[in-house]
Structures are given as C-alpha cells and as structure tokens.
C-alpha cells in the first residue's frame, strides 16, 4: 500500500525521434547511431525505438521538403485522404501517426522524445505542452536535477493560439528536447553530449518509475510562452532591423520594457516596450525568419506535480 497520490500505468513503449527537421543534426546522428548500436538506450522492460521522422529532409540536409513536419500533426491533416498531391510532410505525418499513434487513442506510444537543435543560445531545453501533466513535470524535474549544474530550462507552449501540432503530440506523453546553440548543418560534440545526457536521464526516470519508485510532490520553474515578436519589416516585407547585440545570445535572461531588442540597419535602437519583464527565447533562430518570429516572450511560472508511482506495484 503506497502513500502515492497518483498511480499511473507503467510505461511500455517509448520512441526517440530525430530528423524532424533534417538540418538539426544532433538528433539525426544520435538516432542513426542508436539504430545500429542501441545498447545505450535500452532499459529492461521497456521498448525504446529510435526513428528518423523526415528522411527526405535529412538526405538533403534541409529543414523540410514541402512544409514543416512539426506543424502538421493536427487531426485535419492526419485525416486527409492520402494522395500524391498532399505535401510530402503531410503524407509522412500520416505514416508516422499510423506507426506510433494514432493520435488521441489508447494504442499510441506512451512517450515520444523529439530531438531538435536551435541556432539560439538556449542551452538544454525541455518542451512541455501541458501544464497539468504530473508525470511529465516529475520527469522534467528529475532530468533537470540530474543535469545540474548544467542548466536545463523548461519551455511551456501551452497557449491557446500559439501552441502547434507537433510530431510528438501523437503520444500520450510528448517531450520536446531542444539543445543549442548549434548552426543548421553542423554537428557539435558538446551539444551531442548534452542531448545524450538528457535522454539518458529521461530513460533512467522511466525505468525507475516502472520499477515502482515513488516520486514525491515536486515543483519546477517553467517559462510559458505569451507572445511571438517579429522583426520590424518594410512595406515589401523585408527585414529592416536585426536582434540587438544586447539581446543576442541572452535567451532566458530577464528583458525589461526599456531594454534594446532590435537595431535598425541605419543604427536606430528599438526597445522592448510594454510594461512588464519577460524572458526571451528562440532569440535569432534561423528557421523562424520565415515564420516571422525574431524571439518569443515568456513569463516565469512555477508548476507543481503531485507524487506519482506506477500502478503496477
């Protein structure tokens, strides 16, 4: 008889996705390595499947072929009639949903880790899609504690209009893993090592959980997205100002209304404005120029989780 508040089903099926964006190389090469030598990611009693989600984009070392795979896993796209005319990534999303989902059903994978890199100076980042998920809050708490003193930040994208239909969202427990800074098309050993450690701690947590360990109530600091900010542009849509040197590389650091955020090509400084302190993330991410996002504003929150344990014990 346990004192645990929330008993959860043991975890059986875990997937690790790499290459959702074909030029974010850490996930690509970790998954390729684990496909030939998977010892490191095996845990007794757990099925852990590494998988390359966008092989054509990986082949061309580009983010995507037709459209961003990590934005198309909504029910509308997943339900479209299969046809040659569908964008490659939508067809691929349907295949992935069939293999690892279906989304919103009981048959899908329990956990999917989706590996990403960013050109932003975000360090080790875990991405949470649901602020009330005790299991994932506990997992993230465990990973963050295990990685210390290496910082690990938690980005909460639970926002009605800003949240997006990720590849990993077909699992019961979707986990985004984002490590930067790393240029597109470059594989850095230090970044690879950090991502590898994050996965190791995540799998250790799942194993401990399945073995019956009880995780007491915990709290984590998270950064919740509130708004995306585009670059200043002219009438033709061309970028007229760049991220100010004071903001460049300062992801997660407090940004105040009077602080510089952009500097125009003719030298004018543009401040944040508004009336509250925010914490910027995805500052100067290469892939977001076309998505009209120079950085995202977040606010700091604390999320709590009840104690959890596996219902099997």
């Amino acid at each position: 008889m346990t004192s645990c508040h929330v008993a959860k089903e043991p975890i059986k099926k875990v997937a690790i996705f790499g290459g959702t964006h074909g030029n974010e190389l850490t996930g690509v090469f970790l998954v390729k390595h684990w496909l030939t030598n998977g010892a490191e990611i095996q845990r007794t009693g757990l099925e852990v499947k590494p998988f390359i989600t966008n092989p054509r984009a990986v082949e061309k070392c580009t983010r995507y072929i037709d459209c961003d795979l990590n934005r198309v896993f909504n029910l509308e796209n997943l339900g479209k009639r299969m046809s040659e005319n569908l964008p490659y990534e939508v067809r691929r999303a349907q295949e992935i949903n069939h293999l690892f989902g279906p989304k919103n059903s009981e048959d899908g994978y329990d956990i999917i880790f989706d590996l990403h890199n960013t050109t932003s100076n975000m360090g080790c980042t875990l991405i949470l899609e649901d602020s009330r998920n005790d299991f994932l809050i506990q997992m993230f708490h465990y990973i963050k504690t295990s990685l210390a003193p290496l910082p690990c930040y938690i980005y909460l994208i639970d926002h009605p209009s800003l949240k997006y239909a990720t590849t990993r969202s077909i699992a019961k427990y979707p986990v985004g893993i984002e490590v930067g800074p790393q240029p597109q098309g470059v594989l850095r050993a230090d970044i690879l090592d950090q991502m590898r450690k994050m996965i190791k701690h995540a799998l250790d947590f799942i194993y401990d959980f399945n073995e019956g360990k009880e995780f007491p109530p915990c709290a984590i600091e998270v950064y919740k997205i509130i708004e995306k900010v585009d670059y200043p542009r002219n009438e033709s849509g061309e970028i007229e100002a760049v991220i100010h040197p004071n903001l460049q590389d300062q992801d997660w650091k407090p940004l105040h209304p009077g602080d510089p955020v952009f500097v125009s090509l003719d030298g004018k400084m543009i401040p944040l404005g508004g009336d509250c302190t925010v914490y910027p993330v995805f500052v100067n991410e290469a892939a977001y120029y076309e998505k009209k996002e120079a950085f995202a504003k977040t606010i700091k929150l604390t999320l709590s989780a009840k104690s959890i344990c596996s219902s099997f014990h």
Binding site: N37, P183, Q184, G185, A189, E238, I239, L265, E285
Partner: protein, 323 residues
C-alpha cells in the same frame, strides 16, 4: 596565367559582392541595404558597386541552387557555350564575368571585395586565392589587409592564402585584384548584429584604403604572418560513407591554434577519440564549417609562415576625381 602587376592607375571600378552563398547573411543584408542607399559606398575618386552575386540562392536562403558559385569562375565554365539547361550558377558566373570581367582582361574591374560568413570560429579572416606566388599578384590585397589591421590593432585579423591547383575559381579572381572577407562564427540563415556592423565597418575602411591609394599614398614594405592552406581532413566515416563521429571538443572552435601530432581531432559516436596522426604542427581553419560536410572537409590544415610584402608604390600621376 600571367602575374598581375601592382596597379599603376587609380582604382575606379570596385565591386562589393554579397550573397555569393545565399545563406551567408552578412553580405546579403549589406548589399540589399546599399542597393537602396549607395551613399556609404561613395568616395571622392570612385564609387563601389554593390552586387548580389547569387540572387536565386539568396531568395531561398541556400548556399547555391545547382553548384557552388564560388568555385565556378574557371576558364572552362566562363567560356563554355551557354545552353538552356546549364546549371544556374554557370549562367550566373558568365553574367558576372560579363559585368565584372572578362577575367584576365584589361577591361576587368580593378577590385572585388567578396563578403562571406562561416559557421567556424574564424573571427575576421581574409582569403587570398593565388595560382603560384603571392607576389606581385596579391601585393595590393596584402597592403589592404595591413591597413585594416592597423585601423584596429586590438583585434586579430587572419590572412589565409589558398593556392588554387591549376587555375583560380573564386569570384574575386574575375577582377584584377580581389579578396574574400570571411567572418564567423555565424550560423547559416542567421544575421548577427555584431558581425553585421563589423563587416560594414571593414567595407568602409577598405574603400578608405582604396581612396588613399588613389590619392597617391605610398605604402612601405612589411612582414606579416599568413596561413597557407595545405590540404583537408575529412570526418571519420563508416564503411557506407556516413559520419562516424564529429570534431572533437578540444579542436572545436580552435581555428588558427596550433594542432600538434597526437592531439584529439574527432570524437566518435561510440565515445572513442581519433588523434591527429600528422608528423608536424599544423594550424587548422574552417573547423566544422556546415557547407564543407558535403565537400568531405571537417577542417583545413594550414602552415603558418611569415611573408615579406613588397612596398606598394604611390601612383605617379595625380589622380583625377571621378566626375
């Protein structure tokens, strides 16, 4: 290939090219800015022409469409008969050769400054392409580098000499004199304000130097360290050619620092180290440049040597100012 003499007339026809690789954004944004506001490129004795070298690649933010433009300025490509199914960059190289060349002729532009970025930690570097000897071909460009260094003595600028096997093939080689300005680290598809403003200041100082020369300034001989590129080292690969590891943490970001035999250069995915097995110290550059993975280059080896640059004599005739 005849050696080009040092200029004996003022330099009138100068080009600053950006977007030779469409995802190296420093040059792209500078050229776009100058096309709308060219005042910055004007000097009393000449005006520099801003050119977006690879517009199609720039439009899709990729290095190239069909082939690397900055390897396409060879005699073969430049003189081949134009065909509708030519690679985009061959057609473009021929257009640029018309506008800025013809390469090797007396009608060619006097000087091309070609703007580049790298994902490697190379700070501010100048790349000279030479067929055999650096001098007298590169005398003018070497004096330019010296002038730029003296303007900012607290910063480290590096000069790389690349000896083309056979003929030169880069964009600057179309003009009588030319140089690549390479700044990093900056990811492809990213514009960093610090790199952008430093690149802009270097272009301004370059034009100031040309103006000084045009006004009859003489520049004395000097000695300088250059890095002469030797050969390249590929990533460790599996039997089927895929990456088996990447640049070792102890080599990453250490461009221009001495690499000794026995030092680690790669970390394999299985955790093992690969050590440098050369028999002498080399100076690695372009360490972990994104665009070089497909060229099978993890880094380039270079030798550091001191070269004696001959004096750049003053123009004897008083220059006439541009109308």
């Amino acid at each position: 290939m005849c050696a080009l003499p040092t200029p004996w007339e003022p330099l009138r026809r100068v080009a600053v090219t950006g977007g030779t690789h469409g995802n190296e954004l420093g040059g792209v944004y500078l050229v776009r800015h100058w096309l709308q506001a060219p005042g910055e490129l004007q000097r009393p004795s000449f005006s520099a022409t801003p050119i977006l070298a690879n517009p199609a690649a720039t439009a899709v933010c990729r290095r190239y469409v069909d082939q690397d433009l900055n390897r396409t300025f060879t005699n073969t490509f430049l003189t081949s008969k134009a065909a509708p199914d030519d690679p985009y960059e061959v057609t473009r190289a021929q257009e640029l050769n018309q506008q800025l060349g013809p390469k090797g002729s007396d009608q060619a532009f006097d000087f091309i400054l070609d703007l580049h970025n790298t994902t490697a930690n190379m700070g501010t570097s100048f790349i000279l392409e030479a067929t055999r000897n650096l001098f007298p071909e590169a005398t003018f460009s070497m004096h330019l580098c010296r002038y730029l260094q003296l303007q900012s003595p607290e910063l480290t600028y590096s000069i790389l000499e690349y000896q083309a096997p056979g003929e030169t093939n880069g964009l600057p080689s179309v003009a009588k004199n030319g140089i690549c300005l390479e700044m990093g680290p900056q990811p492809q598809g990213v514009l960093r304000a610090d790199i952008f403003s430093r690149m802009r200041a270097l272009v301004a100082s370059t034009l100031d130097f040309i103006e000084l020369f045009n006004r009859g300034t003489a520049f004395p001989a000097f000695d300088v360290e250059v890095y002469r590129i030797l050969d390249s080292v590929d990533f460790p690969r599996t039997e089927d050619g895929h990456l088996a590891g990447t640049v070792h943490p102890q080599l990453q970001d250490r461009d221009f620092e001495p690499l000794l035999p026995g030092a680690p250069i790669f970390k394999l995915f299985n955790g093992k180290d690969v050590l440098y097995d050369g028999d002498s110290t080399v100076y690695p550059v372009f360490i972990n440049e994104a665009a070089y993975y497909e060229k099978s280059v993890a880094f380039l080896k270079s030798r550091k040597l001191t070269v004696s640059v001959p004096a750049l004599p003053a123009l004897t005739a008083a220059p006439t100012l541009a109308p």
